[in-house]
Structure formats: structure tokens, C-alpha cells
């Protein structure tokens, strides 16, 4: 084995550029899979941490399944006398997303958990271990006990004042004691008395968590006690920790699938390139291999020699890919950090799952080994005769008819899959289309080469060189096709992703313009994932309405709910739903929705009629198989309530999340929520925007949880963020096309090696060096044209698949935009690569000494 390793290492280091470019293909594939694999779970982890604030340190923890607050009297009083409960208490817990720099510039605190506890019972349930000051006492007002870490981070001590944003504006609490920082995940805690918390959030008589310790340690007895509690409370309550963010997790998982697909494409391209490179290597070394066989190397030795080389490249490429992937993940977390922080108030930490490492290594090394398998086998078939009497290469390669037929069938099935509109078929079709194209490619080489050859003859390679180039290419259609396939995959991804990006951005910006087209917006720290946002009471809306120059004000309210498991959809778990409360009169004046079923007028009228009517968005309708007229049971703090669907539609804020729109009146009666978390303001006719803006900023001064922005500024900001995300993504994809350079280079190199004598003959009968050079460059341009043509074709299909897939998966409906820029970029990149790849082999061929070339065997 040492011998194989030595030879492999020498061969690899002997051709540094080729080794570098070939390895690069693997590096990029592994980098994408690993980097994205780090980024997305890190994001989810951060997301969960920021929302999972309640932690089960007690024997029993009860919350409403939706996570909303509920009435203390109807729950706590009903169960506190159950036998076996030692201590029980209700608390009101609420995540508070803080506006940026709320505690001074660069403060690391972006969110807090405010917990209202019963001072006499809470210390029996939790060991608070005060480090300074005192604990809360019954009758305490605006005082708080906070964690030491929080105090450190914002530079406060006992007896100092802590500011907090609340629906009634900023309140100041006096710190009376410090407790150690929490050891479990989640935000730092601010403890106040339950009464005070209820007052701060206008939630009199309400709690969000019941915690209890039981008398018994026996499992069976404890289960019995918990079952008794369950029977008492009914099935709208959850036991154990809170689950959160599941609605968003689905969307993120889809993102991961898309990225993994890119990674797999990148690796597939890497596989093609390695395959191509190893074929070149074997062709170049036929003589060496023949000699080794002559002096006694067995077939197995030759096989293992080539495989070892593949293995070394696979391992090195994978190792570098892992390193760069890690950096990519970290860079994305750092880069996207500001966006996720501003949009969702999430701070991320790097998370690397062990499984991800295993998968990345398996794929990276596996693809390389797999790709070098066939060339290695071919190498082992080289006879020792080769060294004594080299056989001339096969003159014309035959096209496998079976492969062509299978390819055509696969393309047909892919198109059929696309027409079904079912996400799984559409996605599968994308992969089948690419494989089909790779299989059909050899048969297409000749006709396409003819077309481009004629074109080339006119503009570049006159005097028969184009004819020679075309002939050279078409006599090895399978090799040309493999090369073209590698280029194709690289470019298809550019065009495909370009199409997806343009379509998505176009659609989102269009929706954004419609939904966020108001003159001014009041935005909470986290848009779209509303759970931790602190809103304002009706007072603020009244004050905004009173500002001279303000025309219409529309606000959103938020509550979380679930749909119970349903036989209709076959869903076993509960579906988490974001419920948004709108004012059906004001909302349509300022914003608009895209309706898939029903229409605006009837829908908003129905909501205004004050019955339990609901508009559900596309994702929810798809996920739960809902239609207009269906009645859905929504879990609310006041029990399960049946809502009738009056329309299916949505807007940009509900783009990615299961959402139900109800009237603010229903939200108040069923969800007990009257806090506004988002405002849109339109000017009165003729009002001066800057004067009104000044007045508005005065009004919201005491509500730092909101940011006042002009509608068009927010749209521009949003567009910028979107472009930043996609821009980086695009650069990453462009990198993918880079290794295809080596594919073209390799094919040309084999051609030159195999045709050494032919080239010598051409030179002998009078071809100039320039003509030889031109022949090779023309061949490269033809190859690149082939790859580019396939790539654009496949890319357009892929982008269409992405868009269809997006719509079919029910995420949101995307209108297809033709990726003209992507196509132009692909043509430019493809042709440029063709010329670049040709330079070296062309020079080699042109500078050949005639006599030596003629003697070459």
C-alpha cells in the first residue's frame, strides 16, 4: 500500500494545476453541504433558544398548547386541590424582544423573559439562591429581581432602575435582588410579582404557566396524578416544556433540502470531473501502466494504484472542504446575523452536528472513489503489450443506444412530473431531468457540434480548422458528452438559481409593495415571528389617530393557536398557527392580500360581521387541506372555537408561516388579546410627510419597542437585505461553475495526447503552428458551447422546477421570471472557460516538434 501511496502522491504533485482544480470540485461540494449544514441547524437552534423560555425544572409544568396566557381561576383553582400535589403555582411568562441598543449601544441583550411569580410559593418550586438583595415580597409594586449576568451585561446593580418596554410604554422597575444566571437555554430572566406582571401587560387574572411539585416519587403514582390533572383541564393544555417555532421549522427544513440539493449537484459535478480527470490520467499513463504490468504488477495492483490516487484526492478535498465549509458556515452566521437579528431578533451560535461531519465525509470521499472506479478498472485492463506496441486509440466511439433511450424516457418522466404539480414529483423530476440529459448528451453531441461548428467556421476557425475540431469532437461523443455534462451541471445551477432568485425576489417585492405600501410603519423588533414582540395597548393607536395629518391607521394583533390533529389531512400532530387580528375596515384601506380563493370584499365584510370568520393563508390551506366554507377548530385560551373559512389569501407578512386572519373583535373575545404589535399609517390627503413623521416620532417616543419608518424606506431596506442574502448565495453558486474548467481542459488534453502523431502529420503536410493552435481552441469552444447549451437548457428547467416546487409545496405562490441575466452570465462564463481551458493544450499541440510527434507511439 505504501508503494501505491508514494506513486499516488508523486503523480498528484507532478500535475499541480490539475490536481488543484480536480480537488477543488470536491472541496466546493463538501464545503456547500457542510457549510449549509452548519448554518441552518445553528439558525434553528438559535431560533428555538430564543423562543423556548420556559424550562421544566419542576415535576409538572402545564401550559396552553398554543403558549398563550389563560385564566388562572378556571385552571389553577380547579386542580390545586388534587391529591398528591405538594406545591402549585401559576406564573405569567412573556418573552420581550428588545429594540436594538435598548440598553445602550452594542448591548448584547436582545431579548428578556419577564416572569410574574407568586412570591410566597415560587421559592418553594425553584431554588432562586439570591446572591444579593432580597427576593420579591407580596405587595411589591414596580420592583424586580434579575439575573446577575443580565445585571453585568447592562451594568446595573441592586437599587438601580431597569427600563422595560410594555404595551403602556416604557416602565421603570427598581432592582431589589440578584439571582445567578440561568443554566438552561433561553433568555435572561426578570422576575416581578404576578400581580405586577399582569398589570404591566394588561392581563389581569391571567397566567401562562402552572408549575407543581408532587408528593410522590413513585413513577406510577406520579403518572396517575398527572392523568387526573389532564382529565380536569382537557386536551388544550400541554404537559412538559413549551414547543415553539414548529411553523417556522418546516420552512427552514425546506431551505435545507434546497441547499443540500445544491451540494449534491456540486458533488455530482465533482464526480464527473474526477471521472473525466482519471480517464485522462489513465490515457496519459497507458505506457507507464503497461510497463508496470510488464514488470509484474498485477491487475489488482493497478486498480488499487488508481483508486489510491482517488482516495488521496477525496480525503484531501474533503478535509479542505470541511475546513472551508466550517468557515462558510461561520461567515454566513456572522453575515446573516445582522439580518436575522433585525428581522427576527435571533442571535446565532455555531452548531456542528456529528452526523453532518459523517455525511460530508462519506459523500466527499465516496463520490471521488466512485468516480475513479471505472477509470481504475479500465487501467487494470491495460495489457503489458501496451508498453511494447501501443495500440492506437479507438477511432470512432459508438453511442450507446440504450443510454439514449433511458435518457429520453427520464426526461419525459421529468416533464410529466412537472405537469402533475405535486411537489415530490416536481423535485424528483429535476434530478431525473439532469440525469436524463447526461444520458442523452452523447447522441446530441454530433448535431449540436454541427450547428456550432458551422457558426465557428464563419467567425473564427477558417481554412478547415473548424472542420478538424468538429471531427475531433464527434469521434469521441461519450467523452465530449461527459465534459459537456460537467459544464452543464455547473451552468445549470447558475441559471437555475438565477431563475429562482429573480422569481422569488420579484414576487416577494411585488407582495411587499402591496402589503407594506403604507406611508409609515411602526415595526417591532421581530417581524413575521411575532411571539416575543411586546406591543402597545389601544392608547397608542388612539394617539396616532389623533396626530394631525394622519389619515388611516391599521394595526395587527397576534396570538398563537393550534389546529388539533385532523383526519382530513391525515396529520397526526397539531398544526401550529399564527393568528393575526386585523381591523377589517381599516386593513383593506392600507394593505392588500392576494386571494387564492374568495375575494377581498366578501372576506373583509365577513370578518367585520363579527362572527367567527377567518381568512387562512396559502401554506396553512395546503398543509391542512382547507377550502373556503370549511370550519376549523382553533385552540384558544378560552377553549376550542370553531371558525369558518371565508377566503384563502395572504400577504408578505404571512409568507412563510401558517397564518389565520381574524377580526380584532374575535381576537379579544376568544384569545383575550388586545395588544397591537404592528401599525401601518397612511397620510391624510394633502398632509406633509415630514411634518407628520416628526409628530409621529414624538408619539412613539415612549414605545421604544417600535421603530418608525417610511414605507418606501422599509421596502428599500427589505430589498437590500434580500439582495444581500441572494448576492452572497449567487457568488457561491458561481464558484460551482469553476471546476468545469478542468473538465474541458482534461478532455482537450487527452485529445492532444492521443492525436500526437496526427498533429505531427498535419504539421508535416503543411499546417502552421497557428492552425494547430486554432484547431484546439475551436474544439474547446465547441465543447464549451455544448456544455453551455445543455447548461442553459437544464438551468431553465431547474429554475422552473424550483418555482413550481415552491408553489406546489404551498410556501407561497411564485410567479416565474425568465432569468435573462443568469442566461447571459452562463454564456459568458461558458465561452470564457472554453478559451481558458484551451490555452494550455493548444500551446502544447502547437509547439510539438514534427519529427518527435511522428515517432510518438
Amino acid at each position: 500500500m505504501k508503494f501505491q501511496l508514494t506513486l499516488a502522491a508523486r503523480y498528484l504533485s507532478g500535475r499541480k494545476l490539475r490536481t488543484f482544480l480536480t480537488t477543488l470540485a470536491i472541496v466546493i461540494g463538501v464545503m456547500i453541504i457542510f457549510g449549509m449544514g452548519i448554518y441552518l441547524p445553528s439558525f434553528m437552534d438559535a431560533f428555538n433558544k430564543s423562543l423556548l423560555s420556559a424550562s421544566g425544572q419542576t415535576d409538572v409544568m402545564i401550559t396552553l398548547k398554543t403558549g398563550e396566557a389563560f385564566s388562572a381561576s378556571s385552571t389553577l383553582n380547579r386542580i390545586k386541590r388534587i391529591k398528591g400535589i405538594e406545591t402549585i403555582a401559576g406564573s405569567l411568562e412573556r418573552t420581550i424582544n428588545l429594540p436594538p441598543d435598548f440598553y445602550g449601544k452594542d448591548s448584547p441583550v436582545s431579548a428578556l423573559t419577564l416572569t410574574g411569580v407568586d412570591p410566597s410559593v415560587a421559592p418553594k418550586l425553584h431554588d432562586y439562591r439570591l446572591t444579593q438583595g432580597r427576593f420579591l415580597e407580596r405587595g411589591d409594586g414596580k420592583v424586580a429581581v434579575i439575573s446577575e449576568r443580565l445585571a453585568d451585561e447592562i451594568g446595573l446593580h441592586v437599587d438601580d432602575t431597569l427600563k422595560l418596554p410594555t404595551p403602556e410604554g416604557v416602565v421603570k422597575l427598581t432592582i431589589v435582588g440578584l439571582v445567578p444566571g440561568r443554566t438552561l437555554i433561553g433568555n435572561e430572566q426578570v422576575l416581578v410579582t404576578l400581580t405586577e406582571a399582569q398589570k404591566l401587560f394588561d392581563m389581569s387574572g391571567r397566567i401562562s404557566v402552572i408549575e407543581a411539585n408532587l408528593t410522590s416519587q413513585d413513577e406510577a403514582e406520579r403518572d396517575a396524578i398527572i392523568n387526573t390533572i389532564k382529565t380536569q383541564l382537557g386536551d388544550t393544555y400541554a404537559f412538559g416544556g413549551l414547543t415553539s417555532g414548529s411553523e417556522f421549522a418546516g420552512a427552514m427544513q425546506l431551505g435545507q433540502v434546497v441547499f443540500n440539493m445544491f451540494g449534491v449537484f456540486a458533488l455530482a459535478m465533482g464526480g464527473f470531473i474526477i471521472f473525466n480527470t482519471f480517464r485522462t490520467i489513465v490515457a496519459e499513463r497507458r505506457n507507464d501502466i503497461g510497463m508496470l504490468r510488464a514488470v509484474g504488477a498485477s491487475r489488482k495492483t493497478i486498480l488499487s494504484l488508481v483508486l489510491t490516487e482517488g482516495l488521496v484526492q477525496g480525503i484531501v478535498g474533503t478535509a479542505i472542504g470541511l475546513g472551508l465549509g466550517y468557515l462558510l458556515g461561520v461567515a454566513m452566521i456572522a453575515g446573516a446575523g445582522s439580518i436575522t437579528k433585525s428581522l427576527m431578533n435571533i442571535e446565532m451560535e455555531v452548531v456542528v452536528e456529528p452526523l453532518l461531519i459523517v455525511v460530508s465525509i462519506t459523500l466527499g470521499v465516496g463520490v471521488t472513489l466512485f468516480a475513479s472506479l471505472l477509470p481504475a478498472w479500465n487501467a487494470s485492463r491495460v495489457t503489458p503489450m501496451e508498453v511494447l506496441r501501443p495500440s492506437s486509440g479507438q477511432v470512432i466511439q459508438h453511442i450507446s443506444r440504450l443510454a439514449t433511450i433511458v435518457g429520453v424516457v427520464m426526461i419525459g418522466m421529468a416533464i410529466a412530473g412537472l405537469l402533475t404539480g405535486v411537489f415530490a414529483f416536481v423535485a424528483l423530476g429535476g434530478v431525473m431531468f439532469l440525469i436524463g440529459l447526461v444520458l442523452v448528451a452523447p447522441a446530441l453531441v454530433k448535431p449540436i457540434a454541427n450547428i456550432f461548428g458551422a457558426l465557428l467556421a464563419m467567425i473564427f476557425a477558417r481554412g478547415g480548422t473548424s472542420l478538424l475540431a468538429e471531427g475531433n469532437l464527434t469521434r469521441q461523443p461519450a467523452r465530449a458528452a461527459i465534459t459537456a455534462s460537467a459544464t452543464m451541471i455547473g451552468l445549470a445551477i447558475i441559471v437555475g438559481a438565477g431563475g429562482m432568485m429573480f422569481s422569488t425576489v420579484g414576487t416577494v417585492m411585488d407582495m411587499f409593495g402591496k402589503s407594506m405600501g403604507s406611508d409609515f410603519l411602526l415595526i417591532p423588533p421581530s417581524v413575521a415571528v411575532w411571539k416575543g414582540d411586546v406591543g402597545a395597548s389601544a392608547t397608542l393607536k388612539a394617539r396616532i389617530n389623533a396626530v394631525p395629518g394622519v389619515g388611516v391607521v391599521s394595526s395587527l394583533r397576534y396570538a398563537q393557536s393550534t389546529l388539533p390533529p385532523s383526519a382530513q389531512t391525515g396529520s397526526k400532530g397539531e398544526t401550529v398557527v399564527s393568528v393575526l387580528g386585523i381591523n377589517p375596515v381599516e386593513f383593506p384601506q392600507i394593505s392588500s392580500m392576494d386571494f387564492r380563493q374568495g375575494n377581498a370584499q366578501d372576506a373583509f365584510n365577513a370578518l367585520a360581521a363579527n362572527d367567527r370568520n377567518v381568512i387562512v393563508n396559502g401554506i396553512l390551506a395546503t398543509a391542512a387541506n382547507l377550502n373556503v366554507g370549511d370550519v376549523i377548530p382553533l385552540v384558544t385560551p378560552t377553549g376550542i372555537k370553531n371558525y369558518r373559512i371565508v377566503a384563502i389569501g395572504g400577504e408578505v407578512l404571512s409568507m412563510k408561516i401558517n397564518t389565520a386572519y381574524i377580526s380584532q373583535a374575535s381576537m379579544k373575545s376568544d384569545f383575550r388579546k388586545s395588544e397591537d404589535i404592528f401599525y401601518q399609517v397612511n397620510l391624510a390627503p394633502g398632509a406633509d410627510p415630514s411634518t407628520v413623521e416628526q409628530r409621529l416620532s414624538k408619539v412613539v417616543e415612549n414605545y421604544p419597542q417600535f421603530r418608525l419608518v417610511a414605507g418606501h424606506d422599509y421596502t428599500a431596506e427589505f430589498r437590500q437585505q434580500y439582495n444581500a442574502i441572494f448576492g452572497g448565495f449567487y457568488v457561491l453558486l458561481a464558484l460551482l461553475a469553476f471546476p468545469s474548467l478542468i473538465a474541458i481542459l482534461n478532455t482537450l488534453a487527452i485529445g492532444v495526447i492521443e492525436r500526437t502523431r496526427e498533429i505531427g502529420m498535419l504539421r508535416a503536410i503543411g499546417a502552421t503552428r497557428r492552425q494547430v493552435w486554432k484547431t484546439i481552441v475551436a474544439e474547446a469552444l465547441l465543447l464549451a458551447s455544448l456544455g453551455t447549451a445543455f447548461g442553459i437548457f437544464a438551468g431553465l428547467y431547474l429554475s422552473y422546477v424550483f418555482v413550481q416546487g415552491m408553489s406546489a409545496s404551498g410556501i407561497f405562490k411564485v410567479a416565474y421570471t425568465f432569468p435573462l441575466a443568469g442566461v447571459l452570465a452562463a454564456i459568458a462564463v461558458g465561452l470564457l472557460f472554453g478559451v481558458l481551458a484551451a490555452l494550455l493544450p493548444a500551446r502544447q499541440a502547437a509547439s510539438m516538434e514534427i519529427v518527435q510527434a511522428l515517432r510518438y507511439e
Binding site: L7, N287, D288, M291, L292, V295, G296, L388
Partner: protein, 246 residues
């Protein structure tokens, strides 16, 4: 017992109308210490004979035994092993691996055989010194002259201490001086080390070093001549024979 025993050795390339008989019922024996030159016009079957003797190709008819082992009865792996351990090859174009040094190139057959690395190195150094390359042990092929490269190839052929060395136009690519040195070296291999050497050559001057010349024409042995010790006379005689045969 003879070292090489070839009986009725026949090789036909192609079939039907396009069939070409490269070797036609050749009988040949070679003993240890023999230095045999194979001569004849282009296409007479010289190289084919060498390939069949070395187990690189299989005959259409007839049989070859090397050291008592019938090649026809052996598997590809067994023939490969036989080549590795008992036969040394020297080629016209040297066929050294460009990325390996002289020592490494010379060591190849033993490396392939999985022998101890330190022993192999010592042996390679010894052999390379013997063939006059003691100063160029770490040079790569492109740093050596053609004659030096062929010496490395001879060292590679000898490192397994083969009983038979097969050389296909070993001086075909060398100048006169290097040619003489190389063929002298091969003669030494046969005479001083007691190996059998079979060498294909076009050059009567080179063939004259051998102690036996086999002339082939149209795939048949037309003359099997044992030469006198005096080389200059031999060269003239060989040229004369070649002219007669042609």
C-alpha cells in the same frame, strides 16, 4: 532442462481474409547463460516472439515453458507473478516512470512484490552502481541521458535476479557509444551472472555481441547461428546473413 522451451509457437493476428501469421510454428530452446540475438526484417515476428516468450501475449497455437512452467496452464495473475520474479524486461523507449527517481524506478518490481523497503533500496543502489549510475541515484529520468535511462531500465530488469532477461531493441534509441556500453552490460549479465538474455535488434553490430543469432523471416526461423568469440568478424558475417535472408 532448457530455460526456455518453445514448441510450435504460432501467432495469428486477425481472422479470415485479414489474418496475418506473425509467427509460424517456431521451435526454440534457450539455456541459462545464453546471449541470444533475434534478427530479421521488419514484420518478421521478432517482437511477437519476445512477447510470447515473456508471457505478455498468448500464442494462437503451440506452447512456451519458462523454467519448466508451462505458461498456457497459468492464470493471468500467475503469469504476472512469473514475470515479476523470473523475467526482466528492457524496452526500446526505456519506459521509466517520469515522476520516480533512479532508485525508485529500479526498485519497482521488488516494490510490487512487497519486499522490505530497506533491502530493496540497498539492492537498487548496488545494481545502479554496478551499471555505472552510482552518482545519479536520485535523478529523475528527465535529468538523465538516454544511455543512462537505459541503464536504469537494465537495473530495474535485474533487481529481482531474474533467470531470463528479454530486451526489445534496447539500443534502438541510443547513440553508438551508449549502444556499445549497454549491449556490453547485457552480455555481462549473461556471461558473468549466468542469466539467459534474449535481445531483439536490427543492428548487426549489436547482434554481433551475442553468442547465438536467430534469424526470422515471415514468422519462421530461417537460421539459428552460433557465433565465434571475435566480434568484428561476427558483425560482417551477420550483415552478410541479413542480406542473404532479405
Amino acid at each position: 532442462m532448457s530455460l526456455i522451451q518453445a514448441e510450435n509457437l504460432t501467432k495469428v493476428y486477425g481472422t479470415g481474409n485479414t489474418a496475418v501469421v506473425a509467427l509460424d510454428h517456431v521451435q526454440l530452446t534457450v539455456n541459462p547463460g545464453d546471449f541470444v540475438a533475434v534478427m530479421g526484417p521488419s514484420g518478421c515476428g521478432k517482437s511477437t516472439l519476445l512477447h510470447l516468450l515473456g508471457g505478455l501475449d498468448r500464442p494462437t497455437e503451440g506452447a512456451v515453458s519458462i523454467d519448466g512452467q508451462a505458461l498456457a496452464a497459468m492464470s493471468d495473475d500467475a503469469v504476472t507473478e512469473l514475470r515479476r520474479r523470473k523475467i526482466g524486461f528492457v524496452f526500446q523507449f526505456f519506459n521509466l516512470i517520469p515522476i520516480l527517481t533512479s532508485i525508485e524506478n529500479a526498485s519497482l518490481p521488488l516494490l510490487l512484490d512487497g519486499k522490505n523497503a530497506a533491502d530493496i533500496k540497498q539492492k537498487a543502489v548496488e545494481l545502479l552502481t554496478k551499471v555505472g549510475l552510482g552518482q545519479r541515484l536520485d535523478s529523475r529520468p528527465n535529468q538523465l541521458s538516454a544511455g543512462q535511462q537505459q541503464r536504469v531500465a537494465i537495473a530495474r530488469a535485474l533487481i529481482t535476479e531474474p533467470i531470463l532477461v528479454l530486451a526489445d531493441e534496447p539500443t534502438g534509441n541510443l547513440d553508438t557509444r551508449s549502444s556499445d556500453e549497454i549491449v556490453d552490460l547485457l552480455k555481462q549479465v549473461a556471461k558473468a551472472w549466468g542469466r539467459a538474455v534474449v535481445m531483439v535488434t536490427h543492428d548487426p553490430r549489436i547482434a554481433a555481441y551475442a553468442d547465438r543469432i536467430i534469424f526470422l523471416k515471415d514468422g519462421k526461423i530461417v537460421n539459428d547461428a552460433h557465433l565465434e568469440a571475435k566480434r568484428t568478424d561476427n558483425a560482417e558475417m551477420v550483415s552478410h546473413m541479413m542480406r542473404t535472408i532479405a
